[in-house]
Symmetry: none
DNA sequence: TATGAATGAGACTTCATTCAT
DNA sequence: AATGAATGAAGTCTCATTCAT
């Protein structure tokens, strides 16, 4: 029998998370004081601790953006038949997030989280989980493509997945630093790069066999 | 007129930088106290301030690893004739640094610097400079390759350079998080990906075969 | 006109006092939070303030154990004729309380109250009242014994009373600290000590023997 | 090579301890803030932590008065031959401390420590050690007296020691509460009580044997 | 040059109490 | 009568930097 509704409670939580996201995004985790978050949230000192046990909780809650992960799965839906097209959709989806102005704070806090993950186990776990969820999506796609002879079978599916993940993480960095990244051009490069992963001579051999 | 020799002064500075690198690498910039650095360096509280004006100075001095940049140029020396081979040499050089155990602290501090660059202008300048120096090396190689028809001319050289930089930054992240990255396998993937950037005659050739 | 019955009100009060006693006994007054008491009582934060105005009220209500005082009077009932026997009964009664396992929390809270009495006037009043009620019982017994030549008349009845009180308070301390006190042996010592307070004819007798 | 002399360092420590003693004596451990101690000591916030690691350290340092214990041993020096006289000297020494105006703060803080000992292991250890050191002095005296037939041999030396300790602890309580204790009169009572511990019939029998 | 004691603002968190519901 | 969310002052402790020696 709570005194405030579940909805209100979640609204308050979000209010705090929004304030914390803004503060962390501007000043980083350790140069943001709880007082800053409190001020920005419009609540009282004590109220924050009604919803989060500590500053660390707040960091852990924000260091990983789960939306990104959820979005991941949706991106490849509808491309069940063509694994390569699934990968391309994935890339486009990520690329969209890279340039989405409304995700700016999230990107910056994410990068702070990458550094935080070096010494904060909870944050590290979240970051690793993020990579895992990407691999969980990419590796099967690659393997399907390999079994359909669309991708070279002598390459490690895991290495391909990690390479793609690294690529996007690297672009996040360049973008949060306000580097003049042309994401469209980079997508074009990636598209061609993926083409390089296609089987090389075997493909021709296969055709010859088929036509023979 | 300094009362101690220039050599001694530099030795002391290095002593402090070594201690700071170790501390920052373990606990990050903001969870390392000056006291930690002082203790580790074996000097006194006051001594540090004789050689560095502030903690921020120490951070700025360490956030960018100049060795990496210098090494960069050396990697491609001796491949003047073949730009693609130059790129591959660059990749191998970076890959070696990725797994060099003696560069562990530098990698970790580097990642901390990436987050720090979001709000510390000096650090940001250093990071950007690092990217620039990579682009300064890669872009000409790509353009040479394009003019020699070794790489497709409809791709942006800058996009290719940034893509390669992103890729390596992303791998730095995965490695500092102790992810089980197989760098050799990733290099193989990269090699094939670079192959995908070649001019697209092969595809036409395939068509010709089909129409024959 | 109260909306709940008087009985229910008292039950609630006792519920809170029980919880507070347990908490205070474990953690002392100032390291127990109202939240601890609330949790233990099973009531709500606000409910406590319907029955007690403040934490200080709770402390004041518990710092003095009135049961002990009431018991005091009962102990000596039935020994009206023999004041020394009354004192001994008193001692045995206290000794029983000292080792009564069910009085453990009360003893501990009592000791906390002794320190609290140094700066909390209400608690001090309670503690002093406890001593007074003991003196009110002991002094008349001593005076009766003195008038019956059972106790030496050159000793202050008040000093004897205070000495006995001090003795028992000191044993409370040792017992709450879990010191291995042998209460039976101590009672035997006390018994003999009381014997020492008898008029000093025996010594004269000894002299008479010597001079004989 | 400390920058300040050992003497100065100890003076500063004492300065802090004096301030803490005064504050604790007035308001107890948990209602005294570090700010109070800082203000009273005339030092800065940080300075206190240069000499004591925490408030708990300060409490532990003050909860036990070692002077009292050292004094204990001195009191009985010079009474080597007569154990009973040693006990009496001990009692007079304690009594003097009970009424020493300059020990007022120490007595009050001591009582606070008795409550603190219920939940603070360091303080408890100090308190127990205090009792032990008293027993270490008293028990041998009692045993000597018993072997010389000055005290009854059927009483436990430990029980006698604990009884004496309890007695003095109890008087400390009454005195810190500003009760009108007549220490002289109480000493007289104690003297007679000790007399009650002498052997009873056996003493006469012994003399008869000796004179026979 | 070199030391390390000293500073004091500011960090995170707790808690007795209130009050709208 | 009863709830429990909300308050905000106050608590303990840390830390980058300075400065007398």
């Amino acid at each position: 029998m709570p005194k405030i509704s579940q909805a209100k409670r979640e609204a308050r939580q979000q209010q705090i998370l929004d304030a914390a996201l803004a503060c962390f995004s501007e000043n980083g985790f350790h140069q943001t004081g709880m007082a800053d978050i409190v001020r920005r949230s419009g609540l009282s000192q004590g109220a924050v601790y009604l919803y989060f046990q500590s500053k660390d909780d707040l960091i852990a809650a924000l260091a990983i953006d789960r939306h990104q992960q959820e979005a991941l799965l949706n991106e490849i839906a509808g491309h069940a038949g063509d694994p390569l097209e699934g990968l391309r959709a994935l890339a486009r989806g990520y690329a969209r997030w890279l340039t989405d102005p409304s995700a700016g704070q999230t990107r910056r806090v994410g990068v702070n989280g990458w550094a935080e993950a070096l010494r904060n186990e909870r944050v590290r776990a979240g970051v690793i989980e993020g990579i895992e969820s990407a691999r969980t999506v990419i590796v099967p796609l690659v393997e399907q493509a390999q079994s359909k002879r669309l991708l070279s079978r002598d390459l490690s599916a895991d290495a391909i997945a990690r390479t793609l993940v690294a690529l996007f993480q690297g672009f996040v960095l360049q973008i949060v630093w306000n580097e003049p990244v042309n994401v469209e051009a980079a997508l074009a490069v990636l598209d061609r790069m993926l083409g390089g992963l296609a089987p090389q001579r075997p493909r021709i051999a296969a055709r010859e066999r088929r036509t023979t």
